[in-house]
Structure formats: structure tokens, C-alpha cells
């Protein structure tokens, strides 16, 4: 059976919508102008806050502090910094835990929600989405309380695990897991709602047909639903990967709130910040930022290419 794709990218949907319109050329023209207006606004913002800073970062990374072309000197100096590799190791461990958790728990929860009655499902979606309201600094504050065995409402659990004080909770080997939990806690709810929306796009007839063919709930989830929302999963992983490599707020704030228990160069973005603002070397910092950009682009390109994300059926 050939399964029609239901997970559509925004451009695809608007195109389909445009195709359905049949109320004359004026209406199409007006709709097109509105489209251009929205896209135009986005393009302006993208140029101002996306492309221009990127171009500036590339310019800085390729020039010397006092001016003049530096070739790869800033990159070499950044890569030779004794904090560079550990920072990428930290972020690698963090991403491995976080992305794995996203790809499994979010999907499982979204599939479970989709199988619930609509009203129950809405309540759960709201519940999952709530932590998302406490993004960034606010979530760090919440977690500082949660992780301090002497203040946490979960102190009995922390004590049972052998953590009597926050120094023991924030040991270097625990940090990737802790930051992954924070990120999952704040970000998962939003993605569950997105995945739930994608699952709702699957035609009921298709699921009924699968049921008639003898598919149980698990088979229906794995063989029908998951392949149909694959593109959304990839989209989530691309954004999470790009965001995850730029981790900054959580380690920075936890470090400051605990008088330095987390190094101020724990993540590559923190290292770039340190080099830019403590060493006042924006050029070397830009080299690290450009490296992060390239890493994000390579990761995204691989995923897009392997999963044919932008292919329109």
C-alpha cells in the first residue's frame, strides 16, 4: 500500500491551499501579495538578525584583531586552546543524551496522547506544555531548587541516590545529563504538541484500513504513524541539534549561582563568550561561533539529504 505523505512543510501546505483556490485572478493576486508580505517580513528579520551577524562573524573569524586578513589563524588558535576539545566533548555527551531522549520519549508520549480520547489528550498536552513557559533562565532557577538536596521537594530521592549536597549533584560527570534533563523538561512539551498535530494529519481512513487489515495499536503506531511523521521528527532533531550545540544559559547560570561549580568555559558557546569578553578577542571567539555554525549546517544537511525532508510529493 502506498501511503500518502501527511507531514507537510509550510510551503507545501500554502501551495496546496493556493491550488485549491478558484475564485479568480484578483483573489490569487491578493493572496500572493499577502504571502509576499509575510515572507518579506521574515526575510528582513532574517537578513538583519541572521545573515548579517553571520557574515560579520565570518568576517571577524577571518581577520586579525588589529585588522588585516588572518587566514585560518583564529581557527588554529581556537582549536589549540586547551579548553576547546573538552567543551566539545561536554556538548557531545549532552546532545547524545538529549537527542536520544527527544527521539524516544517525545514520540512515545505523542503516540500515547494520540490514542487517548480528545478531552483527556488536551489536558495532558496542556500539562506537558506547561514547563515550556519556564524557558531559559527561569528553568535554571527552578532546577537549582530541584537539584539542591537541602531545598528540593525531591530531597528524599536525591538522598536515596547518595546526594547530600549540591556539590555532589553537580559533579562534572553529571552535568551533561543534568543539562539534558533541563532542556527536555522545557522543550519536550512544545514538541509533543507539534508531533500530536502531525499525527492528527493522518487520515482516519488510513488508520481504519490498517485496523481492518489486522494491525494492533503498536503495529499501527510503528508502521503507519511513525513513517508518516518522520519529517517532523527530523525537523525536531535538526532544530534541537543546532540549539543544543549553542548551549550557554544553563551552564553559565548554574555556574554563577553555585560560586563557580560549573566552569565558565564548559560549553563551546561559553568558551567563545569567555574569549570574546574576558580576553577581548572577538576574532577568535568568532572562529568558534563559525565552527558551531558549520557543525549545525553539516548536521542539518545530512539529515535533510538522508531523509529527503524538503522533497514535495
Amino acid at each position: 500500500m502506498t501511503v500518502p505523505p501527511v507531514a507537510t512543510v509550510p510551503g507545501e501546505r500554502s501551495r496546496a491551499r493556493r491550488g485549491r483556490r478558484s475564485d479568480g485572478a484578483a483573489s490569487i493576486g491578493s493572496s500572493r501579495r499577502t504571502g509576499y508580505l509575510f515572507v518579506g517580513l521574515y526575510v528582513v528579520l532574517l537578513a538583519l538578525f541572521g545573515i548579517a551577524p553571520t557574515a560579520y562573524a565570518i568576517y571577524l573569524a577571518l581577520t586579525k584583531v588589529g585588522g588585516g586578513f588572518a587566514w585560518g589563524a583564529n581557527f588554529t588558535r581556537a582549536y589549540e586552546d586547551f579548553r576547546f576539545l573538552p567543551a566539545f566533548e561536554h556538548i557531545g555527551e549532552y546532545l547524545a543524551i538529549w537527542l536520544l531522549a527527544e527521539a524516544t520519549f517525545i514520540l512515545v508520549l505523542a503516540l500515547m496522547l494520540h490514542s487517548l480520547a480528545r478531552r483527556t489528550s488536551a489536558a495532558f498536552r496542556f500539562l506537558f506544555y506547561m514547563p515550556g513557559a519556564l524557558a531559559g533562565a527561569a528553568s535554571v532557577l527552578v532546577w537549582l531548587f530541584m537539584l539542591d538536596p537541602t531545598l528540593s521537594p525531591w530531597h528524599f530521592l536525591l538522598s536515596a541516590l547518595g546526594f547530600s549536597q549540591i556539590d555532589l549533584v553537580l559533579l562534572p560527570s553529571h552535568l551533561p545529563l543534568i543539562f539534558a534533563i533541563m532542556a527536555f523538561w522545557t522543550g519536550a512539551g512544545g514538541w509533543i504538541v507539534v508531533m500530536y498535530g502531525a499525527l492528527n494529519n493522518i487520515p482516519d481512513e488510513l488508520l481504519e484500513a490498517a485496523k481492518l487489515d489486522g494491525a494492533n495499536a503498536f503495529q499501527s503506531a510503528v508502521r503507519i504513524k511513525l513513517p508518516l511523521i518522520k519529517k517532523w521528527v527530523v525537523y525536531m532533531l535538526i532544530l534541537s541539534f543546532a540549539g543544543g550545540t549553542q548551549l550557554f544559559v544553563e551552564p553559565q547560570l548554574v555556574g554563577q549561582a553555585t560560586a563557580g561549580l560549573v566552569s565558565n568555559t564548559w560549553s563551546p558557546n561559553q568558551l567563545a563568550y569567555y574569549i570574546a569578553f574576558i580576553n577581548d578577542n572577538f576574532n577568535e571567539a568568532a572562529a568558534i561561533s563559525v565552527t558551531l555554525l558549520v557543525l549545525g549546517l553539516v548536521g542539518a544537511t545530512l539529515l535533510v539529504w538522508r531523509t529527503k525532508l524538503f522533497e514535495i510529493n
Binding site: 531545598l151 561549580l261 580576553n279
Partner: protein, 455 residues
Amino acid sequence: MRTVRSTNGSNRWVRWHRRALAVATCASLASLSFVAAGFGSTGASASTKPTLTIWYDTARKPMVEAYIKAHPKVHVVAVLKDGDSNGDGTYQSAFALYNRVGHGWPDIYFSEQNNDAASLAQPPFNDAAVLNKGLVSSSILNKFAHGSAGLCTIGGKVYCLRNDLAMNVLWYNPALMAQDGITSVPTTWQEWAADGALAAAKGDIIGTQGDSWDADTYYWGNECPLSNETSPGTLLINPASTNCTEMASLLDGVSRTALPVAYMFSSTFGQQYGGKIVFYPGAAWMGGVFPGLGSCKTTNPDCTMAAGYPMTFGASGPSVTGAIGGGLWFVSSHSKNLKLAASAVVWLDTNPASQNISAGFPAYGPDDASWVATQSASGSYASPLAGEPTLAQAFSKAANEIWASWSAVPYANDQIWASDVVPSLASGGTQAAGLGIFGSDAANLARSDGFQVHT
């Protein structure tokens, strides 16, 4: 009555509506700008006053308020900052940006980070103004405690004024000593460590370890070379030195009950240890902290402590001590009112109206007596045991014993200790192991900052 609007009419109405909306928006923005401009104005009288922008931390608030009160003809813009503490780099971040855009610097600023002169006076920041070349007279500079300008002086130029000395003394609680069966105030680190067993038996502590100040307290206090600039650009970092290893062995020999891994300003320290501190080798400013610690009064009716002389390592060990913090006042070289800024710093740092309400022992000698008198009258300190020094005697001796070879460096030693050594100590590691970690990480940072490191 119009019930059906023609297409043209409708378009005209929509266009009119849009124009009205645009005009209304512009008018709103214009009026908002007008109102904002009105709030931003300081009025005719204020605009004729010279303006000083002062960055201060929470503890310096009363001092800045006193300055404002005493100087009604100066328009002060007081900005609360974090004091650049714990190596956060708040000031460095700000100056890096201000240097790029060419404006934004304060006129004077207070720093809790005692290595800030080494950072802010030199490239790439170049912000701190030289004070001993015309801005502050030598007659004033000469009255500061001997050696107090060490952290502020680079190549003979003084870039800051010490607010307080923050030298370490041995704080002791006479009431708890009696309860624990400790009969005399220790004079050597060995006696102090031995008293740890008596204190631990009663659930009391003789200090803490595993916070960012270990190096400042124990290693600086025993001439351990972890941060010694032997010549410009050359740094001695030798954790294998006997002065370092003997102190590490001594600390590792004290039980963790008596010398726990804890941080005085953590949210739970007061609850856990308030009223249980028999001894505390720590800075002069800590004396006022102990009585206010969490459960202090409920566990010990007399939580106040007295100051003893700094301890020596063995009876013949060097009579030296370290320092924790000790604030610094800076004048920005970018100030448009350099003379006024310098005079403000001098007032804040020397005038009794300011120093008497300062938390730490004044670095400016003439203020010491009145500060000690004010502190003694505050009820925050215990009366010394018979034969032990008074607050003034203990502070005065300690102030002159700060080991001057411990150099300020552009990176923050306490940050390295906190992020790299404390986790090791917290998970059961030894001070000896921590020294190795610190030595290696500090050497790496020093090299990345352009130092030649030798051991």
C-alpha cells in the same frame, strides 16, 4: 442609511482606516518619545552639576549613599553591580563592549575581585586610570597599610585603592571552645588540626574546605607558590613545593566532620553550621557574618567570634597570611571628570563617614581605630580570651603579614578552584589531588594569557 457599501466605497473606507491607524500610531510614538524625553531630563539644576557614574556592589551601598549625601553638588548615577565577584567577568564583558563602541564606561567602580587590577589596567581593557601620577597625592597613598597596594600596582603604577584588606585571621568562638574542651587558641596549623578531633566529637567545625577560597586561605597562608609573578610575564606555579604539600597533608588529616566541604554563602550553610563554628581561618570581614548565620542563635546562644592572630605552620613556620577578597576602588581612565572621580574614590576609601560603615578592615590606616571602635561597639564580636589579642591587635598584625609574593593574575584563581578542584573534594578527593588539578589548570590558563610558566 447605507446598508450596502460599494466596492469603491469599501476600498476608500479601508484606505482611510489604514491612514487613520498610521497617523494614530505615529502620534502615539511621538507622544511616547516626548514623555520619554521628559523623564530622561534631569532638569536645569541637575544638568549644571558634574555627573559621576558609580558602579557598586550590595555591600557598598551605604557608602555610596553616604557619598551622595555629603556631596549634594555632584549628580551621582549609582548603578548596582555584582562586584565582578567569583571571576564572573562582568566588568570585563562590559568594558570589552564599551571599548568597541567608544562610550558607556562608568567614572568609578568597585570590584570584589582582587585580581581585577591585573586585568582591567592592562591590554586589552586598558580602563583603570593610574592614580599615583597626579590623581591621588602621595601623602594619601602613603597612609594605606604597608603592602596593601600590591594587588593594585603594576610596574610602579598604582591603578586602584584598596577598600579593605580582607587579611585572614583565626576566628574563634570562646563559648564553643569551652563547651568542646579546647583550652587555648591555636597558634599553629598543627594545633588547630588537632583541635579538630575535639570539635568533631561535639559536632562542631574548625573551618571549611572545598569552596573557592581554599587557595587564598590555606595555601596563600603558607607561602605556597601557586600564583607568583616572579618577573613581568613569568609566573611560578609549583603545587609540588613543600609549602603546598605539607599544608595539603595537614588538611587531609583532619576529619571531614571537623573540616567539611561547604561554602559559607550557600543557601544551607547557616542551617547546617550556624552556631557550630569553633574556629574559622578566614578573612577579617567574616567576623560580622557568623552571628547572622541561619540557625545560629537556636543552637548556640553566643555565636559571636573573636579574632586571633594568623597561625603559622609549626612553631618556626613563616608568619604570613592570605587574604580573601578585599575590595578595590577604580577610576576609569575614560572618565570625563577624572579629578572629581579620583576625589570621590579618595572620599569613599578614606573618609570615616564612609569607612566606618564599610564591612571590612580599612586599608587606609588612619581609619582603622575608629572602624575597630565602631565594630567593637556593634556587638558582632566576642570578647577575646585572656591573653589573646584585641580585634585591633589581631587585625593590625595580620594586615602586615599578608604574603606579598602572591600575585594578582588576569584569570581568576578562585574560579579554577571552584570548578575544577571543589568537585573532586566534594566527591571524596584529597587536597593533595586537588593541588595537582589546580596546578595543571592554572598553568594552562596562565599560558593562554601569555605568561611563561615555570614550576
